[in-house]
Amino acid sequence: MKKIMYILAGLALMLFAGNAFAGVTIKGSTTVLPIAQAAAEEFMDQNPEIDISVQGGGSGVGISSLIDGTCDIGDASRAIKEQELKQAANKGIKPKAHVVAMDGIAVIVNSGNGVGNLKIEQIKDIYTGKISDWSQVGGTGGKIVVISRDSSSGTYEAFNELALKKEKVRNDALLSASNQAVVTTVAKTRGAIGYAGLGYLSEEVKALTVNGIECSKDTVLSGEYPLARPLFMYTNGKPSGDVKSFIDFVLSAEGQIIVEEQGFVGLK
């Protein structure tokens, strides 16, 4: 009985410690998560007196936590929305965006697929349902299995805006909950097309060139690759104290090396 009490007390302490002693709390986008985690580890190695706790949850969670005051930095893979700005204003919060990295959204197909390039209009037609067979885009015939992220993911919203010009994805498209799930499904499905962040590309799938341009760090950074988006960290107003030191660290040359190591495109 005593033992249990000690364990419970320990757990309670740990829970409270998360809130009471942490210097900086970061929450939000699962796309930005690897950057935040790796940067926080390195930062804490250099500044042992500052404690940083990093959590995922999604862009919506990141921004709403910032508005609720339950985090200091809200990660997001999309820009803040009108409605969220209104909520923030009501609570006296002034979200300030910091672009910490760029990400290319690669269009991927099964490695057995003969198609190597698609025009952005063709990608749009495939996703909205106007094209549904590979023979229509120069491949050997076969039904195109369209794989998308679910419609509230940040990656989806960026893709929807950049590639589909906000048109609706065909309703029989498969919706996957994560970048990794998209890659796995495309790798296992012959006729599949999908899209995923640059950091998730692997040998198992083939990345298409879009309008003849390869999705790579160089083309994303130069702005040539059409499906590129910024990744954000939001703070309440201009950051100060430990929050400022951390943001500065992420944006420093050292922090940007970490960004690159995680498979994203650093800002140069």
């Binding site: 919506g60 709403s64 409605q83 679910d150 029989d172 498969l174 012959r190």
Partner: protein, 292 residues
């Protein structure tokens, strides 16, 4: 004496804690879910055919999602009832002590496997297999989901059915055998009917597990919010919709309320299942004279 009092009040608080949690969950569900019914109307929400929550204007029709849930649950029943009830019968009636000592814990281990592991298994092994066998464009379908959910529900169905079978009084069997019935006849005509409501309770709780399961269906059913016309196309059950979209929905938006609205519908469905299971199991206890 004092010690006894302390223990008593501690356990009283613990016992009422679950009631408190339930009330809390219901309040949150209703507060956050009801606005969407006001906004779209109950009929449009429940019977709308399009789920496009983030478009302008958004569409919040959960009929394809609800049908997908029902379909996958029904499919799971076709898998878990024969497997679960069959193994319960074998364990209770035919298996020797040693077999039972090995088999029962193994079936119970199945219940302890995290659902994400079932999801991986379904995604990497079952889905490609389904795709090849039925020559489908993609293996992530309602059918694949049904198989995996069915396997996941087996321990629930099996262990409750097994309990029910073991509750059947020995005198029932002895009477049947004494009348000249053989073992098989006794099993079919006496033991199964006597344990029938217990077995049905197990099946309904298995169903409840299948309809509420989230992680696995999220990973293996493909997630297309389209009206399910066949078992061999991707579908999007209600639970996976909530799981996939909750993290990204803007708090306080219609989308956010719509996801809670789905939660509310799910809550009502599982509540009905549990009430039915409870009613049946009461009848069962009365019938066998086990008291309440």
């Amino acid at each position: 004496m004092l010690k006894e009092k302390i223990y008593k009040s501690v356990f009283l608080v613990l016992a009422f804690a679950s009631l408190l949690f339930l009330v809390g969950i219901m309040v949150v569900l209703f507060l956050n879910g009801l606005p969407i019914f006001k906004e779209t109307g109950v009929f449009n929400f429940l019977f709308g055919r399009d789920w496009y929550p983030t478009y302008e204007p958004p569409e919040f029709g959960i009929l394809p999602l609800a049908l997908a849930s029902l379909m996958v649950t029904f499919g799971a029943l076709l898998v878990c009832v024969p497997l679960g009830v069959g193994s319960a019968l074998y364990l209770n009636e035919l298996a020797g002590h040693r077999q039972k000592a090995i088999l029962k814990p193994i079936i119970e281990i199945l219940a302890g496997i995290p659902s994400i592991v079932f999801g991986f298994f379904g995604m990497l092994i079952v889905a490609p297999l389904v795709q090849r066998i039925f020559n489908l464009p993609v293996g992530l379908t309602a059918f694949t989901g049904s198989i995996i959910l069915g396997i996941m529900a087996v321990p629930t169905v099996c262990s409750i059915s097994e309990d029910a079978l073991s509750y059947v009084p020995k005198s029932f069997r002895e009477a049947s055998l004494a009348l000249g019935a053989n073992r098989w006849q006794t099993l079919i005509k006496v033991v199964i009917p006597a344990a029938g409501s217990g077995i049905s309770t197990g099946i309904i709780l298995g169903m409840s597990r299948a309809v509420g399961e989230t992680m696995t269906v999220l990973m293996v059913t493909g997630g297309a919010a389209v009206m399910p016309k066949s078992f061999f196309i991707p579908v999007r059950p209600m639970t996976s919709t909530i799981a996939a979209e909750m993290g990204e929905a803007v708090v306080g938006s219609s989308h956010f309320h719509a996801l809670f609205g789905i939660g509310l519908v799910l809550f009502v469905i599982t509540l009905i299942f549990n009430i039915i299971a409870e009613m049946i199991s009461r009848r069962f206890r009365v019938k066998l004279g086990l008291g309440r």
